[in-house]
Symmetry: C2
Subunit: 223 residues, 2 copies
Amino acid sequence: MTEEERRRRADAERNRRRLLDSAQALFCERGLDVGVGEIAERAGVGRGTLFRNFASKEQLIAAIVAERMHEAACRGRELLGAPDPEAALFEFVQEVVGRQQLDRGLFEAVGGEFLANEEIREAHGEVISALDELLKRAKQAGAIRDDVGALDVLMMLKGVCQAASAFSHVNPGIVGRQLDLVRAAISVPAAAQPLQGRPPTLKDIEHAYLAEDARTQAKRAQG
Amino acid sequence: MTEEERRRRADAERNRRRLLDSAQALFCERGLDVGVGEIAERAGVGRGTLFRNFASKEQLIAAIVAERMHEAACRGRELLGAPDPEAALFEFVQEVVGRQQLDRGLFEAVGGEFLANEEIREAHGEVISALDELLKRAKQAGAIRDDVGALDVLMMLKGVCQAASAFSHVNPGIVGRQLDLVRAAISVPAAAQPLQGRPPTLKDIEHAYLAEDARTQAKRAQG
DNA sequence: ACATAAGCGGACCGCACGGTCCGGTTATGT
DNA sequence: ACATAACCGGACCGTGCGGTCCGCTTATGT
């Protein structure tokens, strides 16, 4: 040990990175329920190696999810410097939805029982704070009503994300449509612009289910 | 067998009812993840009896959930006869949320992978149809914008229900608040009335998690 | 009262999960 | 080149799940 800071072997460091990468990829595409065995296999290491780097699966999840939330919060703070407060707010809202749309694990972590985890809850708080600041600026600019809070918005976004994860692949316009509704709701008196896309239909549900099923069976066949 | 229609023994019928009742109760309070063992135990029968009445757990779930959805749809059709179309629509919306708030199993069945089940999806379709009719009437009355569909509304409700299931016990006003938002969204120009209740806070999340945790550990201690 | 079939229940099975452990391997400093 | 400790990987464990099976019980018609 010639250096104080260099106490871990190089291969250990490399394996940790591989584990984080493979877990991130699998959580993204299949959610947080993927088994630790599969994560280790994809990383090209054994299960033992996984558990030496992360004390439990929950801790691995927390490390990844918290990182993603931290990134989102940073983006939010960045948007605080944008010229148009209202545009900045809705840009952020749209990105938050987009991130969850691209990362199923992140989507599942928000609002589920995983908020029980200290690390995740803290990162979640960062996002809320950023959104809160953006809201405050937009309110001062007169664009947003005074009595809504960051969590009010986040809760509505939960519905949007749910819609996105369920239907966006059979009805791509659904996200923009729902985001429009977040702005204008369904009442006539508001100065409403026409909604984007086409209305979702019963067929969409069926297609969503069939696509999901086909994907599952494909995985099963190859595995 | 003196009667054609009487081919099942009385005790069998009684046990089936007990199973349905206990499953309903457990699904309500703890969600669809409760084990079949516990359901049978609460009903005072063995696991074998459960599987003789229902070929699989999924079928048991479908029987119960579809029944609840059917009830909701009936209520919706009933409201079609109400004098004020707009009031009827929002009464229905509120009741749909209320039902999911009182029944965690129902909440989980909507929008999750359980919509893959034919029986559930069909019953879900009934609810959508009822909501669609209510929407049409409200549109004709000029209360609702023309370009929203029943599923648009249902998706927003998903977010409301999520908020309800997570926070209603620490912030009872949250449901009315979110329902207000469904009507008016967050834009200033709308003729907005002040939101009900108080804004949700970060503390609410923490309390929700702590309460959930305490409940879980209580169950664990008594079981 | 009795014969009989329908019904019963809990022991049992296979499975998949998260997590542990230890004999063999390999990076690392001298 | 070598000694050594850090590291590796996969066999292994306990748990809890949905679902099956079979010997015993009991409702039911005569």
